[in-house]
Symmetry: C2
Subunit: 214 residues, 2 copies
């Protein structure tokens, strides 16, 4: 349980960065978007690099130049998702109970990013077992997120904003379970009122945790 | 949102029941267990009927006699899971806030039934889209469960046990999201303390919802 978060270690790609042309960057973005769509729809097992190249409108050799293997491409797809999530969730590194509102607010963005939400859910479930190629990365990311949420809550608890009887680590596990489970329910039925559910959830969580509710 | 629960309609198999020998029933049970294991491990897309027959130790024609198609077999696998879940969750049809403890208690059974938990998670994610063969069944089951949880909570609210400001339907969506998300986290890392997380969750939910906490 004593894991520290080491976000760099959960990234699949190394730190080596070639100088890229604007055209190269745009082509990589097209490929990553196409891969996101196809993985969300058919799973990574049901998608090959040739199909992704066609979907992206690039040649197969063009795709292979940037992403020589499916694993390299899937890691790039996850990098893009993780960077976006980090920007939104951790804008305020010491949000305290405000983290609940940040999370509830983020739910309203799902509709614009349904391919990314779906891709992530599919990749996690395809890599539940330890033999999954992306398992170490996805499990590492999960633990890093638990650590970060727990750290935000613990720091608020130290400031006296959260009741002493709240176990901030269990609470972090609970919060992430709720969000991920809501994602899956919403992917199964996009008509589920997720934004209002998340808002009611955040209000109740705040009341239950705060030392001075309201 | 005005769905009524109609559990029979969410079952994939019809009501026709042949007279079966004990041997036939035992063989079907072996096949369903083997399918559960393989789907949990490789997904239904990654599993064919021949592999399931081998895993079950029956001939392929023996398997086809009972389950002529993969879809028929997957429906039988889900029937078995749904029946077990129904027996546990709905033993007390009017549990009120006790439903929280029933759910938290059920989490302690996951370890004995990890294949079933994994199979269900995998099938849901493989059938998120409306074109998934099992999508209508799985979405129907999800809605039926929301309806049942909401009905239990509404009935407790009518008796004055739950605060009037709790929206019981949003709360049902929230509860199921938490449980399903916790399942996925646990499948990703079985060392996550799910039983203690669920117990802390149930305690806090009870405090937040009850008219007279404690």
């Amino acid at each position: 349980m004593g894991r520290q978060y080491d976000l760099e270690a959960t990234r699949g790609t190394g730190g080596i960065k070639k100088t890229e042309s604007a055209k190269g960057r745009a082509r990589k973005e097209l490929i990553v978007e196409a891969a996101t769509r196809l993985v969300a729809r058919n799973g990574s097992r049901g998608t090959n690099l040739a199909e992704i190249a066609t979907e992206a409108g690039v040649s197969q050799s063009g795709l292979l130049y940037h992403y020589p293997t499916k694993e390299a491409l899937l890691n790039a797809v996850l990098d893009r998702r993780d960077e976006t999530e980090d920007e939104i969730l951790w804008r305020d590194a010491d949000a305290g109970l405000g983290i609940l509102d940040v999370i509830a607010q983020n739910v309203t963005r799902w509709a614009e990013n349904s391919q990314t939400v779906g891709m992530h859910t599919v990749l996690v479930v395809e890599n539940l077992g330890e033999d999954g190629a992306l398992h170490p990365r996805l499990a590492g990311r999960y633990h890093a997120t638990v650590d970060r949420v727990a750290a935000v809550l613990s720091s608020a608890q130290d400031r006296g904003e959260i009741r002493d009887d709240v176990d901030t680590r269990l609470k972090a596990v609970e919060i992430i379970a709720f969000v991920n489970g809501l994602e899956t329910a919403w992917l199964l039925d996009p008509e589920i009122p997720v934004a209002v559910t998340a808002k009611a959830w955040a209000t109740q969580q705040r009341l239950a945790m705060a030392t001075s509710p309201g």
